[in-house]
């Protein structure tokens, strides 16, 4: 089934990407690369931001078809704002992820986009949810996605430890993104990271020349 294969088969502008999100003690780091490509041979943008803020403490990162992903996140952002007003309190991360999941599942025939939703809420603290293309929702301590993620499964399996500090987590996320961008031709550009915690959100951008180097010959 094409839908379940890698994002490389997407028509039009694809994010052909590397995205990830990792929980640490007290918050979550969500990160992505910044390349948008068409068909793997043309980079249509070197600096797009795949991290979308759907609420104060909830971010989504997109993968797959850029058009579909943007449409879904806009719809989700609207629904979430409405939901938050009705409930008179900030929304749960699970609620945001559920909204994305419902959109992806209901329109699975037309859409081809996958997401990682991560954030902080008062009820459960930091959480990471992965919404895959067909509409499956899974909660995990950390998750990676996009075409570039294939190359770093071994690395993240080896290096992840539960209960990392914020700085260890940031290094982990930066290294993972760098390694994936180094091997996947449709991922690249700068690394975008957002650190979300109770105190707020910090957006970090690391340009290509400041990324860590691994055996670059």
């Amino acid at each position: 089934m094409d839908r379940f294969s890698l994002e490389g088969h997407v028509k039009g502008v694809s994010t052909g990407t590397t995205i990830l999100a990792v929980k640490f003690a007290g918050g979550v780091i969500i990160g992505s690369d910044s390349r948008a490509s068409m068909g793997g041979s043309y980079v249509s943008s070197k600096v797009i931001n795949k991290l979308v803020q759907v609420h104060d403490r909830i971010y989504c990162c997109m993968s797959g078809s850029l058009a579909d992903a943007q449409a879904i996140t806009r719809a989700a952002k609207f629904q979430l704002a409405f939901h938050s007003i009705q409930m008179e309190e900030p929304p749960l991360v699970k609620a945001a992820a559920s909204i994305m999941q419902e959109l992806c599942y209901k329109h699975k025939e037309e859409l081809s986009a996958g997401f990682i939703t991560a954030g902080w809420d008062r009820k459960r603290g930091a959480q990471v949810y992965s919404v895959s293309m067909g509409g499956m929702l899974v909660s995990q301590p950390f998750t990676i996605g996009g075409s570039g993620s294939t190359y770093i499964y071994g690395y993240v399996d080896a290096k992840y430890k539960p209960g990392m500090t914020r700085d260890e987590c940031q290094t982990f996320a930066t290294n993972a993104l760098t390694l994936a961008m180094g091997r996947d031709n449709v991922s690249g550009g700068v690394a975008h990271l957002a650190v979300i915690s109770e105190k707020g959100v910090e957006h970090i951008v690391i340009p290509g020349d400041k990324l860590p180097k691994f055996n670059d010959k």
Binding site: M1, F4, K94, S98, Q101, Y105, K108, Y129, G134, G135, M136, L137, V138, S139, Q140, P141, F142, T143, T150, Y151, I152, Y153, G154, Y155, V156, D157, A158, Y160, K161, P162, N175, A176, L179, A180, G182, R183, F214, N215
Partner: protein, 237 residues
């Protein structure tokens, strides 16, 4: 929509085709939320009349790796041969000697790679080695010491200090890139190879079984096997 809380040791695996999405194995409390759309029937075409393995070719779908060190090379591979979803051989030896100190690691169709390895072994009696697709050739000779040559599908050949191949190799590029250091000694190379192959076996459904290693140097060829319960462990999610 529901929450599932497990108490006690559980093993849960989500698999898409031959790719393992996540493994959850923990004791104690773990809350995992999973929602499967109810109308998704199958990821594979599954017909009760004809088992999967009668319609598929035998493939080594594998993870292979070779690393140079000062004085020799370490080569490693998993041990699973599959016919579709059936594991035809769970203790395959994919490290084929083609000469005293030269081995090749095979990936791809089992029949094809065996035939190619036979041809090479035969040809070596007459000419210098001719290299073939989807294979890593590694060994030791007096002139250049330990060497690893990779010949991916297509026929390009290049010498590299470390090379990975097979279906499982995609998952460990990041790990290999970050952990390889020039000038490792023999034991470090063995641990590096074993860890990398183990990580690939964790994620690739077509790789598994035991890890077979061979350390080739001037003095000897040392073969080792790392069984399932002795595999290097990493914190599983």
């Amino acid at each position: 929509d529901g929450e599932v809380i497990y108490d006690g040791r559980i093993n849960c695996r989500l698999q898409l085709g031959s790719f393992r999405l996540c493994d959850v194995s923990q004791s104690g409390n773990m809350a995992a939320m999973m929602q499967f759309p109810s109308n998704v029937s199958t990821f594979n075409n599954y017909n009760d009349l004809y088992p999967d393995w009668t319609q598929r070719e035998v493939s080594t779908g594998t993870t292979i790796m070779a690393v140079e060190f000062d004085g020799g090379v370490v080569i490693g591979a998993d041990s699973r041969t599959t016919t579709g979803a059936y594991i035809a051989n769970r203790v395959t030896d994919k490290l084929t000697p083609i000469h005293d100190r030269i081995f090749c690691c095979r990936s791809g169709s089992a029949a094809d790679t065996q035939a190619i390895a036979d041809v090479v072994t035969y040809q070596l009696g007459f000419h210098r080695e001719e290299l073939m697709a989807g294979i890593i050739v590694a060994g030791w000779d007096r002139r250049r010491g330990g060497q690893v040559y990779t010949v991916p599908v297509g026929g390009m050949m290049s010498r590299q200090p470390v090379s990975v191949g097979g279906s499982g190799s995609s998952y460990i590029y990041g790990y290999v890139d970050s952990n390889f250091k020039e000038g490792m000694n023999r034991e470090e190379c063995v641990n590096f190879t074993a860890s990398a192959v183990s990580l690939a076996m964790e994620r690739d459904g077509s790789s598994g079984g035991v890890i077979r290693l061979a350390v080739i140097s001037e003095g000897s060829v040392e073969r080792r096997v790392i069984l399932g319960n002795q595999l290097p462990k990493f914190s599983t999610v």
